[in-house]
């Protein structure tokens, strides 16, 4: 089969091939769950000074060992994310070690801690892509979301440092009710800076089950679907079962088939939104942990309600979203039912409503 030449399509095709042989080709390392910002809608956030969270974090040596073992087992794409990775004073040491392994590397950051020195050091051997999240195009909106005075100016300065150092950047935003009005202004900023721009808006509650303000922040299902329509001409469609690779599993993505996540405390899970099966690669070895993740994904049964729902082909629900939203891997998710209804038009009612 001839491989596509467009980058995202090529990555997708390679990951599909990895899934067919169960290769853990794509990994996410959550280097810390702590962050210096305090966005109300964040699914992971612990404060920068959270000692309990800090104590459970893996050391640089442990991350490097995991990265090496993952690469030996077939990891080719790696995302280093947080929390905020630059809160770790040893983050660049971790990064520079991992860089030597022959990986396609992406970093996520809010850029507020990126000094000129950090940007210059990164630029010696830059990641394939560094993605910066921008929460608004004005100080008032940005800081209404992040809750930290001065953070907007620090973010702009971090972006400037990264641009000047020539680090490949992508600017992205998480859209909420507070900043949706600044979408165009953020897009303009990205154009001025000559960096690509992406927006996302499917917000999930906190992964640890603690109280989350996500419901006050997220857009209405109607707004989500309008944004999908507006975005369709600019960016790829959001995942749904009609366009994604079909697998026998009830997951329609690569979770546990070609991808995995390792949390700040060293647990290996199927996806960022799914804290299962919490395998311990540092204790049992990478290959056995990956095997546990695969067996977990295969063991999740289909949702009786959703599999008989006519909206299923256009619904973004998956077991991870069911779990994080409802505590049950198989339960329908009312917010997603509304999005599916809005995607399809009002012709069909979700099963759970009938």
């Amino acid at each position: 089969m001839k491989l596509p030449t467009e980058y995202n399509a090529l990555v997708g095709a390679l990951l599909d091939k990895a899934a067919t042989v169960g290769q853990p080709a794509s990994g996410v390392f959550e280097i810390t769950s702590r962050c210096n910002l305090a966005c109300g809608m964040c699914y992971i956030r612990h404060s920068a000074s959270d000692l309990a969270a800090m104590r459970t974090e893996l050391s640089a040596m442990q991350w490097n060992r995991l990265a090496r073992e993952a690469a030996v087992n077939g990891m080719l794409f790696l995302l280093l994310t947080g929390g905020e990775v630059f809160l770790r004073p040893d983050f660049l040491d971790i990064y520079e070690q991992v860089r030597t392994l022959g990986l396609n590397l992406t970093l996520f950051t809010n850029a507020t801690l990126v000094t000129k020195e950090i940007a210059d050091r990164l630029s010696v051997s830059p990641p394939n892509l560094l993605e910066v999240t921008l929460y608004g195009a004005t100080e008032a909106t940005y800081e209404a979301i992040t809750g930290v005075p001065g953070s907007y100016a620090r973010c702009l300065s971090g972006i400037e440092n990264l641009r000047l150092a020539g680090v490949p950047l992508l600017l992205k935003t998480t859209l909420t009710r507070l900043n949706i009005g600044e979408l165009e202004a953020m897009r303009r900023l990205a154009r001025e800076w000559n960096v690509p721009f992406q927006a996302a808006w499917l917000l999930t509650p906190r992964r640890d089950g603690k109280d989350s303000a996500v419901r006050e922040y997220r857009l209405s299902p109607r707004q989500c679907v309008e944004l999908e329509g507006a975005q369709a001409s600019r960016e790829p469609a959001p995942p749904n079962r009609t366009t994604s690779p079909s697998t026998r599993s009830v997951f329609f993505c690569g979770a546990g088939k070609n991808s995995f996540v390792i949390t700040a405390s060293g647990e290996m899970n199927a996806c960022i939104d799914l804290p299962r099966p919490a395998a311990r690669p540092l204790e049992c070895g990478f290959a056995r942990a990956w095997d546990q993740v695969g067996r977990f994904v295969d063991s999740v049964p289909a949702s009786a309600v959703c599999s008989s729902c006519e909206l299923d082909p256009v619904c973004p629900r998956c077991p991870a979203l069911s779990l994080i939203e409802t505590g049950d891997l198989m339960a329908p998710v009312p917010y997603l039912c509304e999005i599916a209804t809005a995607r399809y038009g009002p012709r069909i009612t979700p099963s759970q409503c009938t």
């Binding site: 491989l3 091939k17 490949p168």
Partner: protein
């Protein structure tokens, strides 16, 4: 003589081969280079000690193609990877 740039590693994903950087500013943003079986065969010999003729011999030996076709394929491959900065003509080893 041709030599692959340092800081590049050949990795496998499924049955495909991908070149990935191990440091430095090697590949551009969103750069991903895949090699087919013939590309891989040539790539693995880009050590500064093989001429285009040697590469064509290896290719013809491993795949069912004529010597002329193999030479044309090698030249086409090198002409694609040179501008990407993935391999260089190694003049030093040429003199040996």
């Amino acid at each position: 003589m041709w030599k692959a740039k340092d800081n590049l590693l050949l990795r496998e994903i499924g049955e495909e081969c991908v070149l990935v950087p191990t440091g430095g500013r090697v590949l551009d943003l969103n750069g991903l280079v895949t090699l087919n079986a013939a590309g891989r065969c040539v790539w693995e010999l880009l050590d500064g000690h093989h001429s285009v003729e040697n590469l064509a011999d290896a290719l013809a030996g491993q795949f069912a193609v004529s010597r002329e076709q193999a030479r044309a394929d090698v030249e086409e491959f090198l002409s694609k990877i040179e501008p990407l900065g993935l391999a260089v003509r190694d003049e030093a080893s040429n003199r040996i």
